[in-house]
């Protein structure tokens, strides 16, 4: 566990990365269908278009590097190896879900895989990652904490506070600004005076740069270098990943504001298509193995969906479970924690 994954993936790595990107795409499409059918409630934010950013990042990390994300985090959980059945069950609010149906789409966590969660307040999880980095260093470990957030979050004050502390204390953390160019419906140019966000971290003495977030190999190389800086040189790093989400902000956004030609322009650089061409060109996969992989992934998504639909609801008598670690919380209803 002492070494980081190398910046250049093996051919096996590349096949695995392509499978994970395909799994995320298919999982998100299925989640969208389940939402439209009324089986998923609340908000549902899809990562379609951002697969390279997610998979390139996770593939460059060690499995024990703690990772935090936003509410658009199904992909991170899948990339970390969480069971697709339990992710879909969480989306459907079932007892078998990754978080027992308490979190839903926005709040997946898989602690066994050092995925420390999806969070619903823009920018709010970034200091948590700073704390995970702090804990790693405090214990003398060489883990690197990694936090993914959007360019919208970069405008939140607490993110600047974290840049400052990371730079001041040289914490082993990688900030990943996934710039998908829209904060809900507001384009970046209406939200920030500059086109680039990574220089904000530079201002706090953090080594920072920008890469094409639609190119999974470029993302992996950049995140690997950032993780190396944090792990081996004990310096924080920041990488801005320029990408594009294909769907609206969430399922409740019909996405009528963004121009069609803009979407077409970005979809022409689709991260899956781009990577498929690389794999075919280098002879790492062929049409047959790709079709086989897609069928296998479809089977995984079908199975996850069936599992989720068949899973039991959460017993209502467990409503107050886990509000507190203390045992006396379990009977709490109404006025929690009153000892009568």
């Amino acid at each position: 566990m002492s070494n980081s994954p190398p910046p250049a993936p093996t051919t096996d790595d590349m096949r695995g990365m392509f499978r994970t990107m395909t799994l995320i795409r298919r999982f998100e499409e299925r989640a969208s269908e389940e939402y439209m059918a009324g089986r998923i409630g609340g908000f549902l934010h899809l990562a379609i278009g951002e697969e390279a950013a997610v998979v390139g990042t996770v593939s460059a990390l060690r499995p024990d590097d703690p990772l935090t994300s936003t509410y658009r985090e199904h992909g991170q959980a899948l990339a970390r190896g969480s069971d697709p059945r339990r992710i879909m069950a969480e989306l459907l609010g079932r007892a078998t879900g990754l978080c027992g149906g308490r979190g839903g789409s926005m709040h997946l966590m898989d602690r066994e895989r050092s995925f420390y969660g999806g969070y619903g307040i823009v920018g709010g999880a970034v200091p948590l990652a700073l704390g995970l980095a702090w804990a790693a260093r405090y214990r003398g470990g060489d883990q690197v904490a990694v936090t993914m957030f959007g360019e919208g979050a970069a405008n939140q004050g607490v993110v600047s506070e974290c840049f400052n502390m990371a730079g001041l204390w040289d914490l082993p953390i990688v900030f990943l600004i996934l710039n998908n160019q829209y904060g809900m419906g507001t384009p970046v140019e209406r939200a920030a005076p500059t086109e680039d966000f990574y220089p904000r971290a530079t201002a706090y003495d953090i080594h920072s740069w920008k890469v094409d977030g639609m190119d999974v190999l470029a993302v992996r190389a950049a995140v690997a270098e950032a993780a190396r800086l944090a792990r081996d040189e004990r310096r924080p790093a920041c990488v801005e990943l320029l990408a594009y989400r294909y769907r609206g902000h969430s399922m409740s956004d019909p996405d009528t504001v963004r121009a069609a030609d803009e979407k077409e322009r970005w979809q022409a650089r689709d991260p899956l298509m781009t990577f498929e061409r690389v794999l075919l060109g280098e002879g790492i996969m062929d049409a047959g193995t790709i079709a086989e992989m897609r069928a296998e992934v479809d089977g995984v998504v079908d199975d996850a969906t069936a599992f989720a639909r068949e899973s039991p609801e959460v017993p209502v008598d467990q409503l107050a479970q886990n509000v507190y670690a203390s045992p006396w919380n379990d009977d709490a209803r109404g006025s929690a924690l009153v000892r009568a």
Binding site: Y119, L128, W328, A336, A340
Partner: protein, 333 residues
């Protein structure tokens, strides 16, 4: 109860608790503004930087949301951070971290992680610090499931409750009183923990139950002295923690006295006194001989001028008046 029997201040009692728990458990570290080289704005952390070093006593930039969130993340990883927010007033800029993250992470993620942290902060009025530096925000924190809320009134409780808080596996909001740091009293030893959810009777009586916490305990006791001179013996009870709340002890007393007054330095609307009164109406309706009285700070932002500030904060004579009203007596002119 102190080893040497000598009384120490509330400030030093907190310092002892921090030091003992840091010696006991290496996962405990302190973080906050000016807590190291400066010994803390109220000198609670005096000497700890020299003893434990910069990794465990961490001076931060002025960045409450950031370092509170950092503490939450470190707690998720299993450390036991004790975060000092210089005063409760500055907790308002960290409220998103406290409410959206600290209080919810265990529940929201199905119990996969806990947040074993303490957020210490002093509050209260009385030093002419005016509107932005005089808050009593107990009610705001007590409103939130997932937090524990602790409000010590004595050096013994300050020490014993802080030790319990540090060993607790949930996020604990530990509200100290700026007005009590110099208060002296006995304290317990290394192994004397004060449990959460156990109210204590500060003065026994049968005429009326007076419920008060933190600095208001001393205001209530002063009022009890004045009332005793009129032959009225009130029972003063200190809940010590609001989450969990020891409603049993409060209700037992009220069912004996049939009267209650709740004293609370916070504002009246949806406040601590209001919440406790609601519990007591539900638990003691058939026993009550009079409406439950509430003594709160005035429903205004805290003024600067000394006379106005004193008029705004609960005073012993306000408690006396509320008890007399509950007993159907006239307030002496």
């Amino acid at each position: 109860m102190s080893a040497e029997g000598a009384d120490i201040t509330y400030r030093d009692a907190l310092n002892q608790a921090l030091r003992e728990e840091m010696l006991r458990d290496e996962s405990v570290f302190l973080m906050g503004e000016d807590i190291g080289r400066f010994d803390g704005a109220f000198k609670v952390t005096r000497g700890l930087l020299a003893e434990f070093g910069e990794e465990r006593v961490v001076d931060t930039p002025i960045t409450e949301a950031g370092f509170t969130g950092l503490g939450i993340g470190a707690a998720m990883a299993g450390l036991r951070p004790v975060i000092e927010i210089m005063t409760v007033n500055f907790a308002l800029v960290a409220m998103d971290q406290i409410i959206s993250n600290a209080s919810k992470i265990r529940y929201m993620f199905g119990g996969q992680v806990s947040v074993p942290m303490v957020i210490r902060m002093p509050g209260g009025a009385g030093h002419q610090l005016s509107a932005q530096h005089s808050h009593s925000l107990e009610a705001m924190f007590t409103h939130v499931p997932g937090l524990k809320v602790v409000v010590p009134a004595t050096p013994e409780d300050a020490k014993g409750l802080l030790k319990t808080a540090i060993r607790d596996d949930d996020p604990v909001i530990f509200l100290e009183s700026e007005g009590l740091y110099g208060k002296k009293g006995p304290v317990g030893g290394e192994d004397d923990l004060v449990p959460f959810g156990q109210a204590v009777v500060r003065r026994a009586g049968d005429a009326c139950t007076v419920i008060a916490h933190s600095r208001m305990v001393w205001v209530a006791l002063a009022a009890a002295e004045q009332l005793a001179k009129q032959g009225i013996e009130v029972e003063v009870i200190d809940p010590r923690t609001f989450r969990p709340l020891d409603l049993g002890t409060l209700a037992d007393s009220v069912q004996r006295t049939s009267r209650a007054v709740v004293v609370d330095e916070g504002w009246p609307e949806c406040g601590i006194a209001a919440g406790i009164a609601a519990h007591l109406y539900e638990a003691c309706f058939d026993w009550l001989d009079a409406p439950i009285g509430r003594v709160n700070s005035a429903d205004v932002p805290m003024p600067y001028a000394r006379n106005l500030e004193q008029a705004a904060i609960p005073q012993p004579h306000d408690v006396v008046a509320a008890v007399l009203a509950a007993m159907g007596r006239q307030v002496p002119a």
